[in-house]
Amino acid sequence: MTSVSVKDLRLSFGQVTVLDQLNLDIQEGEFLVLLGSSGCGKSTLLNCIAGLLDITDGQIFINGRNVTWDEPKDRGIGMVFQSYALYPQMTVEKNLSFGLKVAKMPQGEIDKRVARAAEILQIAPLLKRKPSELSGGQRQRVAIGRALVRDVDVFLFDEPLSNLDAKLRSELRVEIKRLHQSLKNTMIYVTHDQIEALTLADRIAIMKGGVIQQLADPNTIYNAPDNMFVAGFIGSPSMNFLKGEIAAGADGKPVFAADGVTFSLHGYRAGEALAPGRKVVLGVRPEHVAVDEAAAGGELHEAVVDIEEPMGADNLLWLKHAGHTMAVRTAGSRRFNPGTKVRLTFDMTLASLFDAATEERI
């Protein structure tokens, strides 16, 4: 069943149109991540779903109900903000119960819900404290609790972990995932952090300029990006892009030719015919390049190690290959001195081929 549905959404501020003709369906119990760099419209979209921004055109449905003109409180949503947005003058307990008090809920029910949320999030000992006496991670737990007590169908997260340090961020990330697994609510989560997106999401919607570039599960997004923007945005370091064209190989099969070097496209599943002469861009992720290992069927290409970045588990190499810089990930145990000549093989089953003009996947 569809939980949240956005139809033909348009949002303009005066002459500036931020979102246009945006459609998005989110299934019940799904964890959807809106991913993009700042200014891409992801938070704006979330605010529209929450009802905090008045939309210009289109419709929004939550649980089969048209909520386009409803106030945020009537939409059945709970929201968690980046800056926690806890009411500074109230204790944690009052923060959690504020919305319920406004809704004139009986005190017994309020106490029950607050106690349950506090237990789930392990903040029971903090109930009498003020937000200023809490750490960042505790504050964000309280903020999640505030959404939890409302007993809503849909959770909206607006970059909830961006203000936390790296260690806390990964801890709370796991906790949000656990929360989703136990509550099974629909969750919409806005972030610019691709690790959060890849680890948490059932599906990721990558946005740019107010347009959803690709909506798919993390594996598809990572391994079969729809266009060069998605390919370059996801993955760190970024996918290597080689500009070239399709040529006819010796055996008649199409090959990729760039700067006088040819690469067999054996193993690549193209969605359309690869006509020789077509200008294309080959995208290969750093971990899909084998160094010094001759894989069956692949040609060998020489490159020179420029810089080596040991990262513990991995060893990142920056290579000079035919005048371009290329990132390659190898095992951390393998070390290379700068200047070393290595041979490269691309894993074409996991590579991507884009049209040079449209930047769309072929």
Binding site: N47, A50, L52, E71, P72, K73, I77, G78, M79, F81, Q82, S83, A85, L86, Y87, P88, Q89, F98, G99, V102, A103, A143, R146, R150, D158
Partner: protein
């Protein structure tokens, strides 16, 4: 582990040449007297003296008897301290017909200042809240008009307001003056509150909306409790402004409602008999005492609030 650290440190020290060890070590010493401190404290002292000297003269003069004042040395402390001028200024100095001193003006001023301050702050804070958080259509135009209002000289508006008050039957009354003070405080107070509320995190407002609080709920339960400093700033601005006002007080009220400032002027400028400098000085200090007291009580919050309002916005 700690042993290893110790070993390392010792090893390091032994490598340092003896000449280095004789060099500077620890906190850098500061000279007490330098050109910089002389300039800074000198300037501060001169500025402070410049402002405090008149106050000193006023206080010593108000404590002298008239014969001592006629000797003419205004800086000398009183030989014989007398509080009689203070008593006279408060309760029996003459202004025109009545001779009950400043006390009448004091209570008039209280009756003008208290409601004016409360009403203007209440209205302006709601204005500022609506302007910064509930962006309604035409908000910018409304705000611009309000701010332009702050730059029109008061004198231009005096006569039109007299006519308006006369037409609605409030001319000469205390409530008429309260309305005038409320209106004239509006531009600057609205600006003050708007900028302060705009500086509060927007997400708090959003969170309260998701929690279901409405316009008044958010204002009273979220915004006001977070904004004590700016309310104190507004209070100080209004109390001092309205208390010190002379023009509106003399124009819009009848003699029996004259505020303290007008009363003071009438005492000081009365032309009959001898000029009683000691009574005049005492009356002036009494009139200025209320704003001064307000500032000393809440000055710390004032500075904090002004700074907050200035940076954010």
């Amino acid at each position: 582990m700690s042993d290893r650290g110790q070993l390392k440190k010792t090893a390091h020290l032994s490598e340092v040449p003896a000449a280095w060890e004789a060099g500077p070590r620890g906190a850098k010493p500061r000279r007490l007297v330098s050109t910089r401190t002389i300039v800074v404290y000198g300037t501060l002292f001169v500025a402070a003296a410049y402002y405090l000297l008149p106050l000193y003269v006023m206080i010593v003069t108000s404590l002298k008897g008239m014969p001592e004042i006629r000797v003419g040395n205004i800086f000398s402390p009183p030989l014989e301290i007398t509080f009689e001028p203070w008593v006279k200024a408060w309760s029996s100095a003459c202004t025109g017909l009545n001779c009950d001193g400043l006390s009448r003006g004091f209570w008039n001023s209280v009756m003008i200042t208290v409601p004016s301050t409360i009403i203007s702050i209440a209205v302006a804070s709601i204005n500022g809240y609506a302007l910064s958080n509930w962006r309604f259509k035409g908000a910018d135009i409304f705000f611009t008009i309000l701010i332009v209002g702050a730059f029109i000289p008061y004198q231009v508006m005096l006569y039109p307001i007299v006519i308006v008050l006369r037409e609605i039957g409030l001319y000469g009354s205390l409530s008429g003056l309260v309305i005038v003070h409320t209106i004239f405080g509006m531009p600057i107070l609205t600006l003050l509150f708007r900028n302060y509320f705009a500086g509060l995190p927007e997400e708090l407002f959003k969170a309260a909306r998701v929690d279901g609080a409405g316009f008044w709920g958010i204002y009273f339960k979220i915004m006001v409790p977070m904004s004590l400093p700016i309310f104190v700033v507004a209070m100080i601005l209004q109390v001092t402004g309205i208390w010190n006002d002379f023009l509106f007080g003399v124009v819009f009220t009848r003699p029996e409602y004259y505020p303290m400032t007008v009363q003071l002027n009438n005492i000081v400028n009365s032309v009959q008999g001898v000029k009683e400098y000691n009574v005049n000085m005492a009356a002036t200090i009494l009139t200025g005492a209320v704003p001064l007291l307000v500032y000393f009580v809440s000055g710390r919050l004032f500075v904090r609030g002004i700074a907050a309002g200035a940076v954010k916005g």
